[in-house]
């Protein structure tokens, strides 16, 4: 046995999956079952007490989901992972392990709109208070730290604008504050950026996007980097203190560098309940096998489309970090040298009406509220996702009336460019 490091594409196909022990099935079976029999009373007690490895009930764990979890943990370079029903569920479960009512977390202002809603409204009702900071001004994170701060949350590539976040600089702030850095890596996927290599302590994903990749299944995942020491100062009692839910087990003491993933499973998923269907896990796993091929194609196509748009007379500006002229190009070269992702925005000289007209004329691009599909997608945020905001607020969140967001698929780039050309020109 030699200790050799397999490459990313090998892990994307193999990590976590081996032939089924009972049947020899080589593809990962869909264990579509709610529950698993115990060998005897002692085995049952060992499983419920977390003393043995094994399956109890699909809300707590499932063999198909476990393959997905190990696969993503391996691709991200983490110690363990927990799959859940959606990206939003991943965010709730993570923060439930870290915050008590009255606590705070710092989040980058440039985030997926749904996350802004979740943090501002839903989490407020739990007593978890979000404090906003600006990724373009690292000092704004430092200024936001208080004794109640329990975590910092950022996106590696931010939705919708496609800007690249300086993960290392923000991880330095988190380290100094003694709190974990959570990175939503949905738009980059581990093929483009591995946040743990840059100082992230926890990575979350909406598997719904590029990891699943085919626009057919919702899912979310939490990856534990194994880098954070939860025992200092009693700041994280879910991990460091005896848990009454488990007769006094201390999770960090028992599970070491994957204790956070275990906490998310046995204190978060078990009690909050957003379990991922094994069928969705199977669909997402199948998608991940081709992640490296798809993601490169997504990025190559996105760059070609962004270059085309930048040269088009009807276009006022293109915001894509892969363009040499872009504000975030330096950060893109550092963090995502293989490509700057496939989600970006551009603005039209003709304003709101031109945006509405473009969307209605496109033939290949689908007008819908998702990103990270094999198909190319388009949305005009001002008339849809951000329509409830006033004009000033729209502009601040990168969704001004003239802005259009694209998620570039893996079709032939010539066809995508031709579609945009006819819709812009006519």
């Amino acid at each position: 046995m030699s200790d050799r490091l397999p490459g990313f594409s090998t892990l994307a196909v193999h990590a976590g999956a081996q032939p089924d022990p009972t049947t020899g099935a080589r593809a990962t079976p869909i264990y579509q079952t709610t529950s698993f029999v115990f060998n005897d009373a002692d085995h049952a007690a060992s499983l419920f007490g977390l003393q043995a490895f094994g399956n109890i009930y699909t809300r707590i764990g499932n063999p198909t989901n476990a393959v997905l979890e190990e696969r993503v943990a391996a691709l991200e370079g983490g110690t363990a992972a927990l799959a859940v029903a959606s990206g939003h569920a991943a965010q709730v479960v993570v923060l439930q392990q870290l915050l008590l009512p009255g606590d705070e977390f710092i989040a980058a202002r440039k985030l997926y709109g749904g996350s802004i809603n979740q943090f501002t409204h839903a989490f407020k009702s739990f007593g978890w208070n979000v404090v906003w900071a600006d990724s373009d001004d690292i000092a704004s994170f430092e200024r936001a730290v208080t004794p109640r701060t329990k975590a910092i949350f950022i996106e590696s590539i931010a939705n919708p604008g496609g800007s690249i976040t300086d993960i290392e600089a923000i991880s330095t702030v988190a380290r100094k504050a003694g709190v974990p850095l959570i990175v939503d890596n949905t738009l980059a996927s581990p093929y483009l950026i591995r946040p743990i290599d840059h100082g992230a302590d926890i990575v979350v994903h909406s598997l719904t996007k590029f990891l699943g990749g085919h626009g057919n299944s919702l899912g979310g995942i939490i990856v534990d980097a194994g880098t954070f020491d939860w025992s200092t100062g009693g700041k994280y009692p879910m991990l460091s203190e005896p848990r009454p839910e488990y007769h006094g087990i201390k999770l960090q003491e028992t599970f070491g560098n994957f204790a956070f993933a275990i906490a998310c499973r046995v204190l978060g998923l078990r009690d909050l309940g957003p379990a991922l269907s094994p069928f969705n896990a199977f669909m997402i796993l199948t998608g991940i096998e081709t992640l490296p091929l798809r993601m490169q194609r997504h990025c190559d196509n996105a760059k070609a489309v962004a270059e085309f748009l930048a040269g088009h007379p009807a276009v006022a500006s293109v915001s894509y970090a892969g363009l040499a002229s872009d504000k975030y190009n330096q950060l893109a070269r550092k963090y995502a040298p293989k490509g700057a992702g496939a989600v970006f925005t551009f603005s039209l000289k003709g304003g709101y009406d031109a945006g509405v007209s473009l969307v209605s004329k496109l033939q290949l691009f689908s007008h819908l509220a998702n990103v990270g599909d094999t198909r190319s997608l388009v949305i005009h945020p001002a008339s849809t996702t951000h329509s409830q905001l006033d004009d000033a607020a729209k502009i601040k969140s990168g969704a001004g009336p003239d802005v259009v967001r694209l998620s570039i698929g893996i079709e032939d780039k010539e066809d995508l460019i031709a579609d945009l050309e006819q819709a812009l020109g006519a």
Binding site: M1, S2, D3, R4, L5, P6, T10, L11, H14, A15, G16, Q18, P19, D20, P21, T22, N39, H43, S46, G49, L50, Q51, A52, F53, G54, N55, G61, P63, A66, V67, E69, E70, A73, A74, G78, T79, A80, A81, L82, A83, A225, G226, T227, F228, D229, S231, P242, Y246, H247, G248, I249, E253, T254, F255, G256, N257, F258, A261, I262, R265
Partner: protein, 195 residues
């Protein structure tokens, strides 16, 4: 001298494949303590387990009688697994070094690290592992721990039998990395430097 910041999987694999008897110092009969978890699991995977804890002499742990100290075991043991804080490691290692024959391996539990004690044991040819759990490492190298979404850092295209009670599992899967768990190591090292 071993680099105790990152063990190659082959080092751990060789130890877990090689030892048969394990004396666990600090074994607890309380079923939420990590030592109880590890003792029970290793016994189920076929190791000859000996609980060592002077506070429980006269009692049994899963059918095995407690002994007060290593010298009371009265037969050779392959490995000493120490479930004590870093500050209590040295006396146990000194006790182990007085055994005849010497143990082949001294293993210090997750969170425990004493580099001076380790060097002492290594100077007489004993293999040392620090800040690891043998249950976790066995579960990882066999991939049994994958049931909990843990990254085993191993791959295999071979069909393995479903684990049952008392079964030894193959640990000879292909390793994905060098077994680097640097983060928890750093945390333990910082603590032992502070104390």
């Amino acid at each position: 001298m071993m680099n105790h910041d990152a063990y190659p999987d082959n080092y751990i694999r060789g130890i877990l494949n090689g030892v048969k008897s394990i004396a666990m110092v600090g074994a607890s009969p309380v079923n939420v303590r990590p030592s109880y978890f590890a003792f029970k699991y290793l016994a189920q995977r076929g190791y000859d387990m000996i609980p060592v804890n002077p506070g429980h002499v006269g009692k049994e742990l899963l059918g095995k009688p407690f002994v007060a100290s290593l010298s009371d075991i009265g037969r050779p043991v392959d490995m000493i697994d120490i479930f004590r804080n870093s500050s209590h490691i040295m006396p146990v290692v000194e006790e182990a070094l007085a055994l005849d024959p010497l143990p082949k391996v001294i293993w210090m539990q997750l969170g425990a690290r004493d580099d001076v004690a380790a060097a002492k044991a290594e100077s007489v040819g004993i293999k040392v592992v620090m800040n690891r759990c043998p249950k976790i490492e066995y579960g990882r190298l066999s991939s049994e721990i994958s049931w909990m979404g843990v990254n085993s850092r191993t791959l295999s295209s071979k069909r393995a039998p479903a684990p049952t009670q008392g079964m030894r599992l193959s640990l000879n899967r292909m390793s994905v990395g060098g077994g680097d768990t640097a983060a928890s190591d750093r945390a333990a090292k910082n603590k032992s430097e502070q104390s």
